[in-house]
């Protein structure tokens, strides 16, 4: 790999423990790297640990009852062992995050303008007038009409789509090197989602920002990310370049997901092929493969040993019995 690494996550694991209950390992053995300007997607369903991963990188998990292990090296510094002060220096200015729910991520009693300026002025020494100018410019760049007027408005006066754009504007205000977007368009309608994804795509491309896109929507990933990590039950089960992942999925879970999603571009009367069971039907990774109870490809070994994420063909895979051949061909027939 020649590209310059921006962030390299190694063996990240997050355990939540509450008094009187068994500790829960929400994320474990998560390792991946992201190069400058690269766009990485993390896909998974609820409970897969994709959001927890992002929160851990941003140092946003509650300190009490949470154990974070592993390392996340961002430009030769470990984000996970950093002091709160160091982290605050980096958060917002170098690494920014956009959340799913734009209403609860904005302060309801402060104007949009103040909220953007605040971020700019925390990391740059500029006058309040200059900050306001830059805020307006940011709103314009994320496609908000009449930005000057919007600066004086409060979050509840804006629609969901505009709010999410404001959040993106806040995140990009200090020109971060890395943007983490956690389901940024899930709460929005498709036409608004299309607008925002389009703007997000242009913005990160223009500024050379690296992007970690966390979502459950394979469609969102397909057009946006260079490399995709599929998570299941707290671990990465397959990592591949975008084309390889979508055309020849090797993990039965990835393959199952791709086959079960209703698509606009497949024959209508063909029944969908769902993955059996539900994401709660798992076994602990220590007893075998967590996907085994739902896996149509499972073999005896899946209940005997824990699979590891290992190089397989052109990707990384955590599976004893990978899918073979070109699944897409089978699908078309």
């Amino acid at each position: 790999m020649n590209e310059k690494q921006l962030l390299s996550v190694d063996g990240l694991s997050v355990t939540f423990s509450r008094r009187g209950r068994d500790p829960v390992e929400a994320v474990s053995e998560v390792s991946f790297t992201i190069a400058e300007g690269e766009h990485v997607g993390i896909v998974g369903e609820s409970g897969s640990g994709k959001s927890v991963t992002a929160m851990a990188l941003m140092g946003l998990l509650p300190e009490r009852g949470t154990t974070v292990e592993g390392s996340a090296t961002y430009r030769e510094q470990d984000l996970l062992s950093m002091s709160r002060r160091q982290l605050n220096q980096i958060r917002g200015s170098e690494i920014a995050m956009v959340f799913q729910d734009p209403m609860s991520s904005l302060n309801p009693v402060v104007t949009i303008g103040t909220q953007i300026s605040e971020v700019i002025r925390r990391h740059h020494r500029v006058s309040s007038k200059e900050a306001a100018n830059r805020s307006a410019e940011m709103l314009d760049r994320v496609g908000i009409p009449d930005p000057r007027r919007r600066l004086r408005e409060y979050p509840h006066q804006l629609s969901g789509g505009i709010r999410q754009r404001v959040l993106i504007a806040i995140a990009l205000a200090c020109e971060p090197r890395l943007l983490i977007a956690d389901e940024p368009t899930t709460a929005l309608d498709v036409t608004i989602q299309a607008q925002i994804l389009n703007e997000l795509k242009e913005l990160v491309a223009d500024t050379g920002t690296s992007l970690i896109m966390i979502t459950h929507d394979l469609g969102v990933i397909a057009g946006l990310c260079d490399r995709v990590h599929v998570m299941y039950s707290g671990r990465i089960v397959e990592s591949a370049r975008r084309y390889q992942l979508f055309t020849t999925p090797r993990h039965p879970y990835t393959g199952g997901l791709l086959q079960s999603v209703p698509r606009l571009d497949s024959p209508q009367d063909e029944p969908l092929r769902p993955i059996e069971g539900s994401p709660t039907d798992t076994i602990p990774w220590t007893d075998g493969c967590a996907f085994q109870p739902r896996c149509p490809h499972a073999i005896d070994q899946c209940l005997e040993a824990t699979p590891h994420l290992e190089p397989y063909e052109d990707r990384m895979l955590r599976c004893f019995n990978p899918l073979k051949g070109d699944e897409d061909d089978k699908r078309d027939r």
Binding site: P145, D189, A194, D217, P262, D269, L272
Partner: protein, 348 residues
């Protein structure tokens, strides 16, 4: 999607649902109305599925509830199996409910948390004084939706999302209804579960000869279950057509935009996909635009007619019903969308 007959189960005409906006603290006067549904005509044939798609705020859920008389319609007629039910209330309506059922979006909140599965499945049958043996009937229903018999004495919170939705479906079909309205039946579920529920709905239709109205925002989901699809925008239907035709040759600009906005889980297709981006935001249903409701955001907007004349839902040569003054011109390519550059500047 089978056993199509020409028998019409539901016929709706001129249906309006307006929610009054009241002002004044002591004497409350009506100062306006949210026109959630504003003049909808629909026909649903027995044994088929009508899909209703639209984005949030288009009035699709309100329409669904009004069809079942869970919300009082303001105007219009709803003819179910030949008789107008729009003015029926009280005990007659209650008895009619056996024949038309609903599947809800959130299976957890639509199941009473204090009822065991057996109770919640048998209660409606008791209410309608049906003759049945609880044990065998419950077992039969659980079989039908693919849940183990042991589920009978458990409670809703002990199930996963997909299983709960199966319970909701079992409860809806318990009364052997003719019409089932499903409001966003899969949108609260995990991706890998959605397909299970979609397949179940299709299977039940075949087995029980049900007529469905499926309301959803997800076009791919609707397409997979529907014979006919109606697209709603701001309280009105803008296009209605057989499913395949609508997806292959959308005629209304809003349908075109909606279809092109859906991201596909296929990198090749994604690289080529050029979404038709809409400018601006959804106008308020309390104060909808004059003329064509979509004209404020339409990339095909023309200087005449669009802003001042309300287009009717007209059947075109292809058999598609479209509410657009310029549908034929757009289809033949004589009217093209404004340049993308243009659209971007208006957006800003």
């Amino acid at each position: 999607m089978t056993s199509e007959t020409d028998e019409v189960v539901l016929e709706v005409s001129g249906l309006k649902v307006h929610f009054p906006i009241k002002a004044g603290s002591l004497i409350r006067r009506q100062v306006g109305a949210v026109k959630a549904v504003d003049g909808v005509d629909l026909t649903v044939k027995s044994g088929t599925t009508l899909g209703i798609v639209g984005e949030s705020g288009c009035g699709k859920s309100t329409l669904g509830k009004a069809l079942l008389k869970l919300i009082k319609p303001t105007e219009g007629t709803i003819s179910f199996d030949g008789s107008d039910i729009s003015q029926i209330y009280g005990e007659r309506l209650r008895r009619l409910r056996r024949r038309m059922q609903m599947i809800f979006q959130d299976p957890l909140s639509s199941l009473n948390p204090r009822q065991s599965v057996e109770t919640l499945l048998t209660e409606p049958m008791k209410a309608h004084r049906l003759d049945f043996d609880p044990k065998t009937k419950v077992a039969e229903l659980l079989d039908l939706v693919g849940l183990p018999h042991s589920a009978a004495n458990r409670y809703p919170h002990e199930f996963s999302g997909g299983q709960r939705q199966r319970l909701g479906i079992a409860r809806a079909v318990a009364l052997e209804p003719e019409l089932v309205i499903a409001d966003e039946p899969v949108s609260a579920l995990d991706v890998s579960i959605q397909a299970q529920v979609i397949n179940l709905l299709r299977e039940l239709q075949e087995r029980l000869g049900l007529t469905y109205i499926v309301i959803a925002h997800d076009l791919a989901v609707v397409r997979h279950v529907s014979d006919e699809i109606a697209v709603m925008y701001l309280g009105v239907i803008v296009e209605q057509a057989p499913a395949e035709q609508l997806y292959e040759h959308p005629m209304h600009p809003y349908t075109k935009a909606l279809l092109s906005a859906v991201p596909l889980p296929d990198p090749k297709a994604e690289d080529e996909r050029k979404p038709m981006l809409l400018s601006g935001e959804l106008p308020s249903p309390a104060d909808p635009p004059t003329g064509c409701r979509f004209h404020t955001r339409c990339p095909f907007r023309q200087p005449t007619r669009c802003a001042d004349e309300r287009p009717a839902l007209v059947e075109h040569s292809s058999g598609q019903k479209v509410a657009c003054h310029w549908a034929d011109e757009i289809a033949s390519g004589t009217i093209t969308p404004r340049e993308e550059q243009d659209a971007v500047t208006t957006a800003r």
